[in-house]
Amino acid sequence: MFFRMISGTLFRQWKKMLMIAFTIALGASLATAMLSVMLDVGDKVNQELKTYGANITVVPKESSVLNSLYEVEDGGSSGAYLREDELGKIKTIFWAFNIIDYAPFVNAKATLDDGSEIIAVGTWFNHHMELPTGEQLDAGVASMRNWWSITSGKWLDEQSADSRTVAMAGSALAQRLGIQPGDTVHLTGTESDITVTVVGIFDAGGDEDGRLFMPLDTAQALDGLDGKIDSIEVSALTTPENELAVQAAKDPKSLTIAQYETWYCTAYASSICYQIQEVITDSVASPVRQVAESEGAILEKTELLMTLITILSLVGSALGICNLVTASVMERSAEMGLMKAIGAQNSSVSGLVLTEIVITAIIGGTVGFFAGWGFAQIIGHTVFGSSIEMRPVVIPIVAVLVLVVTLAGCIPAIRMLLRLHPAEVLHGK
């Protein structure tokens, strides 16, 4: 009979119940959408911040120091190198999944036909890698230097047939030499000489404007540096630093085992650096503070901002649901009075109301959950151009929220029901 009464309400009063379910669905969808966006916004913004380029640089251990300085002096390379054959290992570290891009660099000195010296930089442009995990990755400066504007020509394509004899020139260099895309440049290195065709001219707004960029092999051949690279730039998704990370960055050995494990298994810039040093022989990996620190600050602020907005919207939807549930239960005081008049106990009347509301809440909440998921995807695609990952933790949070809020909404109504005098209700007071 209990169930007959409940189904009676649900089906015969479906309009009212539909409105409650609708409101609950709205609230639940708002909660779902906001929570999903909030939980994913860190990763999304982190991806966006990758436009600032590498946040980790890897250089040879010895005289990583003098490299930059001597480069200013004579444009050449110092004596120590990293090994090209170890590059793939970067994608095998514990946090490999967080490494979204990286590129090796080798600087070769070359002489032009007019006798002037330039720096020829060998690197990856859109180097295609097939990883042991089956993952495919296109890494290189095409994505890591996306602030370069190509003033004429196009990006160098490593997959093209003539990829070994092409190059890209910085705008300053191009201006000095008066070259256009399609022109050829003859370079003489310490070991060999080569003629490359310039396919594009870029404006980087920095020192790189004076250099000639070409595929790694080509630059290595010029100075006989086969298999050797000067530095690697790595773009990784990282977690903002905290005290533990700062301590670990100074000396990982000072940590306790538990701390070490926490640190090692968290995507701090310092732990990723540490892991890279483990796989690349004789290397020093260090976070680029300009990028790493700013990323941390921006990420933290964005996440906090979204958290507060989420809390506000949760409060908003909770109130909305609460209000309507209270109002709709109150509305039925006559019916409840009648039930009490024909002998229903307070407990059974309350039980009936609660069961009805909870069933409605479950239906509304489920619909709302999926609607909210849809909203989150709309936000993800509109803003970030990628879908928002659904965290499983959202489901219990939304479920608990909807149930608690709905039941809370019933409390004032049920208290009123319990105080009802059947006679008064039936006399239409």
């Binding site: 409105m19 609708f22 409101t23 709205l26 609230g27 969808s29 708002l30 959408a33 906001m34 966006v37 916004v41 913004v45 966006e48 436009t51 600032y52 980790i56 990583s64 120091v65 003098l66 930059s68 300085l69 002096e73 602030w147 370069w148 404006d203 980087a204 707004g205 920095g206 680029v288 503070r289 300009q290 990028v291 620190e293 700013s294 600050a297 921006i298 602020k301 964005t302 906090l304 979204m306 507060l308 907005i309 506000l312 919207s313 409060v315 908003g316 939807s317 109130l319 909305g320 649901i321 209000n323 109002a327 509305e331 909203f375 709309i378 936000i379 509109t382 803003v383 970030f384 239409g428």
Partner: protein, 385 residues
């Protein structure tokens, strides 16, 4: 008594004497309005506040001289073209090759008091050197190479360029004894430099009043920043201002996305909140079908009833909107203080807008249920069904 007076008397009686029910409706409207005004305030403030965060990336404009070197006058003049509220820091740099223990090292002379403003990401072990000189900041690589730490004394020597007329005369090195005040870590090429106060570098080289470039950190992005750079290049003779593309381009991209995110979130939250307000108002009206029937029975026309209930709803909307716009400002202020550590500017124009929107939303959401309620047959309602 005028009819209008009675009208307001009825509405206020309904609002005041039905306190608890009306408070619930009011609360939901106020929360809706608070969300509206709060989120809109945040939306407008995000670029400014986030822009400040982006200044962590350091300088976004570089001023160089088109020929020769940059003078203090050039820097001051460039600075004058930028709204002083937008300037985060301006730091001149002058690079000279000096020697430490007979090894060549690049030294950068700068204004120590400004350096951290344009390069907030510098991590200094020890302290920044004093602005007046006598101390230096050693790049981490150099510190390791020379095995020098904080507090150590170091002699910096400089060989002046050979003077053309007296090329045969031996040129004496000038030297300066400085204390290492701090070691600089950046993970970038700065670790290979030694930073000393501009005045010390001038003493060392004997040449003063010139710099190679000045870094500027300006809290502006996109077109505004570009406009600043253009104005400086056009108006200051022999100076060209260029943007640090890596920083500016990326900032524009990320800021645009963040603002779009807040906008979209605002729209979604707002739409859902408004629907919540609407359902609440629907429930509030539905509760009063019997009263509507009674009013019809004693001679109210449909139009009259709509007018009264709408008046009530819109008054609720106005009160809720006012409360909400203040609440929203408090919320936005809290968010701003908690997230960005700075206060937000109050936008007075938001108050009337919020009130108007909440009046409109409550009005519209009351209209439909009231219209359907006026279709009731008074006879049926009054029979107590």
């Amino acid at each position: 008594m005028k009819r209008r007076q009675m009208y307001f008397r009825m509405i206020t009686a309904s609002l005041i004497r039905r306190r608890s029910r009306m408070l619930v409706a009011l609360l939901s409207i106020a929360i809706g309005a608070a969300i509206l005004s709060g989120l809109v305030t945040i939306y407008y403030d995000v670029p400014r506040q986030m822009g400040a965060q982006f200044r962590n990336y350091g300088a976004n404009m570089i001023i160089t001289s088109e020929g020769g070197s940059l003078t203090d006058g050039d820097i001051e003049q460039s600075r004058s073209y930028i709204d002083s509220a937008d300037i985060v820091g301006v730091t001149p740099y002058r690079y000279e090759s000096v020697r430490i223990r007979e090894l060549p090292v690049m030294a950068a002379g700068t204004d120590m008091s400004q350096a951290l403003l344009t390069s907030p990401y510098w991590s200094v072990e020890g302290a920044m050197p004093a602005a007046e000189g006598g101390q230096l900041l050693l790049g981490a690589s150099l510190s390791e190479q020379f095995r020098l730490g904080v507090g150590d004394e170091v002699t910096v020597s400089f060989t002046p360029e050979a003077n053309g007329t007296a090329s045969d005369e031996p040129v004496l090195d000038s030297t300066l004894d400085l204390t290492v005040a701090g070691v600089l870590k950046t993970g970038g090429p700065e670790e290979d430099y030694v930073y000393i106060a501009m005045s010390d570098l001038e003493t060392l080289t004997g040449i003063s009043g010139k710099a190679d470039l000045a870094e500027m950190s300006v809290s502006a992005s996109g077109d505004k920043l570009k406009a600043y750079a253009d104005v400086i290049s056009a108006n200051v003779p022999a100076v060209s201002a260029s943007l640090v593309k890596r920083v500016t381009e990326s900032e524009t991209t990320v800021l645009t996305k963040l603002q779009a995110l807040v906008l979209l979130v605002t729209v979604v939250v707002l739409a859902l909140t408004m629907i919540c307000v609407a359902t609440t108002m629907t429930a509030v009206v539905a509760e009063r079908r019997r009263e509507i029937g009674l009013r019809k029975a004693i001679g109210a026309s449909n139009g009259g009833i709509i007018k009264e209930f709408m008046g009530e709803g819109m008054m609720l909307g106005a009160i809720g909107g006012l409360a909400g716009s203040l609440l929203g400002f408090v919320f936005a202020q809290q968010v701003s203080v908690n997230v960005f550590g700075s206060s937000i500017s109050f936008m007075p124009v938001l108050v009337p807008i919020t009130i108007l929107v909440s009046v409109a939303v409550t009005g519209v959401s009351c209209l439909l249920p009231i219209r359907s309620a006026t279709q009731v047959d008074p006879a049926l309602v009054l029979k107590g069904e």
